[in-house]
């Protein structure tokens, strides 16, 4: 007993105390280390996780800028709308779903059954039950606070002018981003910068009024004003549609340009999509959503003779009175060439070559006078074989096969001289002829007149890409174009002196081989006419083209009246005074108006 008592009162061994102290120390150290790890090392992660629990953030979309015509009339604007969605998980409760559907039905002009049927078979995730609901209705739905109902603010793009300039303007997708046309090309300017709103939320996810709030205001997109004039565009589209209907062409192109600046006043291409009847599912590849005036290439035909003649005049090799002997036909590289009317004209001047559009004249000019090097040098200088630099998507380069290419032959040079065997876009054609009309400068075509943002306006300045021919040469060609136009019964513009040139191109095909061995379907043509007015101070350059025409008539018969009518309408609209007397029957000496 005494031994036991002694043991009980004996001092503990020092190593035991040390062990306990060590254990406590280790435990404490471990806790401290864990705290350091959590609070210091992983501070950022945990604090952001904690913030995520009670903070929420929403993106505030920026208002998309408008697309305006040259006079400031809106062609595409955005309005605020709502998309109405439903959280399927919450609407799994049949009673809640029924109550919600009944509350939404009158606002969405649907029956509760129709709304419930839109939920589909899935049991989780959001389901959109209405898109682009007008703003007031969307706000009312949001204010109802129905369980599981989501009202998502959005913007809807509307086109006040309807289908006007559809292929040029393009359209936006469900996310509000541009998909085609100018909506795509100028998307970065139109979109703006979205803002954000960060707020403290309660248990239900609603913002706490007195909680932490941080918001960055969205910056609205810029308004883009075009060089397109809606009235001229309307005239252009109507004239083209009438021309297509009348001739049963498969399509066509109409471009109106200010030749002095390169500004495009109107541009239309048919067939093309219409904004009012847009159906993306009908063309999943999106091949039809293009602006053919910019993207599509074709063989231009005799309008191209203007460039051949420009090369001859500007190089000093020929002048308007230079004569060649027009034989009935010419054989080049074992291919037979003749005039469009199989005529044999004998000694013929260069002016007559253009006036009568003689193939053998331009063929003589390229093969006997200019040679391939000089000819293709001018062809490329006029902008063929490279994009126009318009900034429009799909800006085609065209196909120019020159003597530097392996498969080239002299027959190519011969046919290129009158616009066959070479592919161009309509925009390239009008830009090239604009260089002749404005005195020799190849302009960069453009459709964006200015960009307005936050009270500032950035104006697009006309850009001269290069000088192609001298002003004297350009004046000579213009004089020749005046004679060409005057020789055409259908082309003159009443009250105005003008210049122009027609063209009729055969369409290359791989299916039909003619007896002459050409890969052209000679029963199908592309007639076209390009002209400018008034002659002394050109205000407009107009190019009209019809596609795949099965008609015996030539371009000068079919498209020249279109040019004449269009030029007359546009010049009247632009208040351009006549520069020559009207025909006698239209003039009056009445002392008054």
């Amino acid at each position: 007993m005494a031994t036991i008592s002694r043991r009980a009162h004996a001092q503990p061994a020092p190593w035991r105390a040390a062990a306990v102290a060590l254990a406590l120390l280790l435990a404490g150290g471990g806790l401290v280390a864990r705290l350091v790890f959590l609070q210091i090392v992983q501070h950022k992660g945990y604090s952001s996780e904690a913030a995520g629990e009670h903070l929420d953030q929403t993106t505030v979309p920026a208002h998309r800028g408008a697309i305006l015509d040259a006079n400031g009339f809106p062609l595409a604007v955005s309005i605020a709308t709502y998309d109405i969605g439903v959280d399927r998980h919450i609407w799994q409760d049949a009673a809640a779903a029924q109550r919600g559907a009944q509350a939404l039905a009158p606002l969405l002009n649907r029956t509760p059954e129709q709304i419930l049927s839109l939920l589909g078979d899935a049991t989780t995730g959001p389901a959109t039950i209405a898109q682009d609901v007008d703003y007031d209705t969307g706000r009312r739905i949001a204010a109802l606070g129905l369980p599981g109902v989501l009202a998502q603010p959005r913007e809807k793009r509307v086109n006040p002018e309807g289908d006007l300039a559809s292929p040029l303007l393009g359209f936006v997708g469900r996310d509000g981003g541009g998909l085609t046309g100018l909506e795509l090309d100028e998307n970065s300017l139109l979109t703006g910068l979205p803002g954000s709103s960060e707020y403290e939320r309660d248990a239900l996810g609603n913002p706490i009024a007195a909680g932490v709030r941080k918001s960055v205001a969205p910056q609205p997109g810029s308004d883009v004003e075009l060089t397109i004039d809606r009235n001229i565009q309307q005239m252009c589209e109507q004239e083209l549609k009438a021309g297509i209907d009348k001739t049963h062409a498969t399509g066509g192109t109409c471009i109106v340009m200010d030749p002095n600046t390169g500004a495009i006043l109107a541009m239309d291409d048919e067939p093309s999509f219409k904004l009012s009847t847009l159906d993306l599912s009908a063309d999943p590849q999106g091949e039809g959503f293009k602006d053919g005036a910019v993207t599509d290439i074709y063989e231009p035909g005799s309008v191209f003779k203007l460039f051949t003649m420009s090369a001859g005049i500007d190089s000093g090799k020929v002048n308007p009175n230079t004569t060649y002997i027009d034989t009935c036909q010419v054989v080049v590289s074992q291919r037979i060439f003749h005039n469009w009317d199989y005529s044999c004209n004998g000694p013929t001047t260069m002016t007559t070559v253009l006036v009568r559009s003689l193939n053998l004249g331009t063929l003589w000019l390229t093969t006997k006078v200019l040679g391939p090097d000089l000819f293709y040098q001018y062809v490329r200088a006029f902008g063929f074989g490279e994009p126009t630099g318009s900034g429009l998507s799909g800006d085609a380069s065209g196909i120019v096969r020159s003597n530097a290419d392996t498969a080239w032959s002299l027959a190519d040079l011969a046919s290129n001289s009158f616009g066959q065997g070479i592919s161009v876009s309509a925009l390239q054609m009008i830009t090239g002829v604009a260089a002749i009309v404005n005195g020799g400068n190849l302009m960069q075509p453009y459709v964006v007149k200015d960009v307005r943002s936050n009270g500032t306006t950035r104006v697009t300045q006309p850009t001269v890409r290069r000088r192609v021919i001298s002003s004297e040469s350009a004046a000579t060609i213009r004089d020749m174009m005046k004679l060409v136009l005057q020789a055409n019964t259908f082309a003159p513009v009443p009250g105005y002196t003008a210049g122009g040139k027609s063209g009729t191109a055969y369409v290359p095909t791989v299916k039909t081989k003619t007896s002459a061995g050409d890969a052209y379907a000679q029963e199908v043509t592309i007639p076209s006419y390009i002209g400018f007015a008034p002659f002394d101070h050109p205000r407009v350059l107009i190019y009209v083209k019809l596609d795949n025409l099965k008609s015996a008539d030539f371009g000068g018969v079919l498209t020249a009246p279109m040019f004449s009518h269009l030029a007359s309408e546009i010049l009247t609209y632009l208040d351009v005074p006549p520069d020559r007397p009207l025909p006698a029957a239209t003039e009056t000496n009445a002392a008054g108006r």
Binding site: P577, N589, A590, G592
Partner: protein, 178 residues
């Protein structure tokens, strides 16, 4: 005796002092309590005020959004009403028809001084000479400086003199070159 009086006086003073002291302590306690209550209540007031302001801001922001949305909608409506398609429809509804080709006339009366007349519409030399002769015969008074002058023929031409544009001739059987 004097000592007794002094004691009595000091006794009275001693009796007053605890009362005052007690009142002072009570007042201090009340003040302290009030301050504590105030300090407790102040955050409530602040929070209430902040919450109220927060709601006001939220409401104002919503109003701003609403007005902005209405502005965009109204802009689109204005654009719709001003669209060329709608103007054409309205014009047709009012019985208007598309204009024919515009006609240009040559006047033989010189424009009043300072009035610009486009080059294409300027009177011919012969017309000007004729007008000058008539002005010699009947010089206009200052009151006649308006256009057209009082002595000039009617500004409305006779029906037979209405200028017309002759449409292009019939389509020839042989077209021009391509």
């Amino acid at each position: 005796m004097a000592l007794a009086q002094r004691r009595a006086t000091s006794g009275e003073q001693a009796g007053e002092t605890p009362l005052l002291r007690r009142a002072g302590v009570l007042l201090a306690l009340l003040l302290a309590g009030g301050m504590i209550l105030g300090a407790m209540f102040l955050p409530v007031l602040q929070n209430s005020d902040a919450t109220s302001t927060g709601y006001q801001i939220e409401h104002a922001q919503q109003q701003l959004d609403d007005l902005r949305a209405k502005t965009y909608t109204l802009q689109a409506q204005i654009a719709d009403l001003g669209s060329e398609t709608r103007i054409r429809q309205e014009a047709a509804r009012l019985g208007m028809v598309p204009a024919g080709r515009a006609s240009a006339v040559t006047v033989n009366v010189p424009a009043p001084a300072g009035v610009f007349l486009p080059h294409g519409l300027a009177p011919t030399l012969t017309a000007v000479a004729g007008a000058a002769e008539s002005s010699v015969a009947a010089p206009p008074t200052p009151a006649d400086q308006s256009y057209p002058p009082a002595g000039a023929p009617s500004a409305t031409p006779a029906p037979t003199a209405v200028p017309t544009i002759v449409p292009p001739g019939p389509v020839p059987s042989v077209g021009p070159p391509p």
